[in-house]
């Protein structure tokens, strides 16, 4: 007897596929719409934006707005150009991420690998600081920074923010998953605490560090309240904080420069997006995989 194997192409499955993708595309479009709106408005003259708001028209002001956004300042000193603010944001983002990672790793290292009394207790204390974000302690923090003379400095911008329960927590979990035998092998190989950290732990944590870096960079980049309080000199403004300044200048005869502000907003979105795109695979690896 001949057995026949029939292959059906199942239309239901295809429909389901189309439906799935439809939902995804819709979601994506919904998320990206504001960005497109921003983009559209940067191409129009400010007067038009003022009168009509977002529209479907594409104007010719893109390069002009870009020039204004990046190279012109609106303050008294003329220091807060887009380029300058981009630079400041970059320093904040990088410093913030690097600081949190270094500090978090060291704290986790101490908690996991050293036989301290109250290590667990110390960890939970660190952990509970999650309940005390900067906003809660902003006045005392400000006062301390002021007393230390760190207003309008990068140190003042970064250091008060870098103590991180989140990073400590993730690194702690990660370190605990590293097999005990590896540590013992290193001990027998004569690696002291410092060498073990540098030679073994840091390289092993690469993917974790990368994942943390992305999260923390974006987090630092988007800081708003703290930079607003700590920086009054225009050459210390960050992008996120500086944009506000522009749309606010309603007084006098000048129009709010929507085109320019929107352009800056777009510029402000770009670095985090690029970082996420380029480090995406690391990110996923760091949080899900452990190649030990």
């Amino acid at each position: 007897m001949k057995s026949e194997i029939k292959t059906y192409t199942r239309p239901q499955i295809k429909l389901l596929l189309i439906f799935d993708h439809g939902v995804l595309i819709l979601g994506a479009a919904f998320m990206i719409l504001p960005v497109l709106m921003l983009l559209q408005m940067t191409t129009m003259p400010d007067l038009f934006n003022m009168k009509t708001g977002p529209s479907l028209a594409i104007g010719d002001q893109l390069d002009d707005n870009f020039r204004k956004a990046m190279f012109e300042a609106d303050g008294f000193s003329g220091a807060n150009t887009g380029v300058r603010m981009l630079w400041n944001s970059m320093i904040l983002g990088l410093g913030f991420a690097a600081g949190k990672i270094v500090l978090g790793m060291m704290a986790a290292y101490a908690i996991v690998y050293f036989r301290m009394r109250f290590a667990t207790f110390a960890f939970w204390i660190i952990f509970t600081t999650l309940l005390l974000p900067l906003e809660v302690r902003i006045l005392p923090s400000y006062e301390i920074v002021q007393h230390l003379g760190m207003l309008n400095t990068y140190q003042g911008l970064i250091i008060p923010l870098i103590a991180s329960a989140t990073a400590t927590f993730f690194f702690r979990q990660y370190f605990r998953s590293i097999p005990e035998e590896l540590i013992e092998a290193a001990r027998i190989d004569g690696a002291g605490p410092f060498k073990f950290f540098v030679d073994i732990l840091v390289p092993l944590s690469q993917t974790m560090i990368a994942a943390m870096f992305i999260i923390m960079f974006v987090y630092g980049w988007n800081q708003y309240l703290w930079p607003t309080m700590i920086t009054t000199d225009e050459d210390m403004f960050t992008l996120v904080r500086g944009i506000k300044q522009i749309t606010q200048s309603l007084e006098g005869t000048s129009l709010p420069e929507y085109g320019r502000a929107n352009m800056l907003a777009l510029v402000a979105i770009l670095p985090p997006v690029l970082i996420v795109i380029f480090f995406q695979s690391w990110f996923v690896k760091g949080l899900t995989e452990s190649d030990k």
Partner: protein
């Protein structure tokens, strides 16, 4: 190379659990000692105390002429091979092997030379630039060995290094490790729960149970004259038959069945131990066994049955086509071990 001396070494874990009761033994220079016992008996604990990875609660440990109780693992002049190899995943084979030397501030050319030497010895020359994840289990095991031998230690420590390998590779590595140890002449302590490994590799076997040393002796000693019923049942596959018996008037019996032994100095209840291969089918034998099951092992056949209501196994050649039913057997000379029925200790 060194002699190792343990006297009254004890381990009490912080939770109060005594994992190793006072244990004393010497390991002469160059000897291959195997610590064997069931899971949880304290073998690893013992080894880790020798390595310095676990504090010694009490007792003295000497490696060579030095008391090393409080010496850091790195300074005990030992090398250890772990069950999961514990290779550094981010380092190449070359770096893995050389890492210990690098930490000892030995100069680069010297490290390079030693790594090459070790890798040649272990057939790893082609893999020096690979990462551990790109190696097979056997190769990883060799890298772990390499890491141990480049350091020229006085003492090798192995904690079940072969248990992650498949059966065939295990047999092969067993021979390689033993040969390597012979060649280098380094004293070695090897932990395993596999009694075949213990028998084949050891110069001397230390059998442990529940934190206590049951017997120390050569493989032949341990196999032929087990000191306790535990050793009798642990060493050998299939294990020694252990049956409740009785001595009255110098005569030994299992139930009503007399066993060919006269003039014994003991009397009362005993445990009788007989190796399955020491029982031979014999038409004129005076012991009758009721065979209920035959197990085919290829080269051998294992007959399971009862004698006076107690289980017994017999090991026969593959050509011996015996079937279930009553079987007359006799015993080889000196086949019977007698143990105290209560303490389980061997009666002379």
């Amino acid at each position: 190379m060194a002699q190792v001396t343990l006297s009254e070494i004890t381990k009490v874990y912080p939770n109060g659990f005594t994992a190793v009761h006072p244990a004393s033994f010497d390991i002469p220079d160059g000897e291959f000692v195997v610590l064997v016992g069931p899971s949880g008996c304290g073998k690893s604990t013992m080894l880790r105390m020798i390595a310095g990875l676990e504090d010694i609660s009490q007792g003295d440990l000497n490696i060579g002429t030095r008391q090393v109780n409080n010496v850091d693992p790195a300074d005990r002049d030992i090398a250890m091979v772990f069950q999961n190899y514990a290779l550094y995943p981010h380092m190449s084979v070359r770096k893995n092997i050389g890492y210990g030397l690098k930490n000892r501030k030995i100069d680069k050319d010297e490290i390079d030379r030693k790594v090459r030497e070790a890798s040649t010895m272990l057939n790893l020359d082609d893999y020096l630039d690979r990462k551990p994840s790109q190696l097979s289990g056997g190769q990883r095991q060799r890298v772990a060995m390499g890491r141990a031998i480049v350091r020229d230690p006085a003492l090798f420590l192995f904690d079940e290094p072969l248990s992650n390998l498949d059966a065939k590779l295990r047999t092969q590595m067993r021979i390689e490790i033993k040969a390597l140890q012979r060649r280098l002449g380094v004293t070695a302590v090897y932990v395993t729960h596999d009694q075949v490994e213990a028998m084949t590799m050891a110069d001397r076997i230390i059998v442990m149970n529940e934190g206590r040393i049951e017997q120390i002796g050569t493989p032949v000693d341990v196999y032929n004259t087990p000191e306790t019923t535990f050793v009798a049942s642990f060493m050998g596959a299939p294990p020694m038959n252990l049956m409740a018996g009785n001595i009255a008037g110098g005569k030994l019996r299992v139930g009503e069945e007399p066993i060919a032994y006269d003039n014994l100095p003991h009397s009362g209840d005993v445990t009788i131990g007989i190796r399955p291969e020491d029982i031979v089918p014999d038409e004129r034998g005076d012991i009758t066994i009721d065979v209920t099951l035959v197990e085919e092992l290829g080269a051998h056949r294992l007959l399971h049955g009862t004698i006076a209501g107690q289980d017994i196994s017999i090991h026969v050649d593959k050509d011996n086509m015996i079937n279930t039913g009553a079987l007359r057997v006799s015993l080889k000379p000196n086949a019977v071990s007698l143990f105290d029925a209560i303490t389980g200790k061997r009666l002379t």
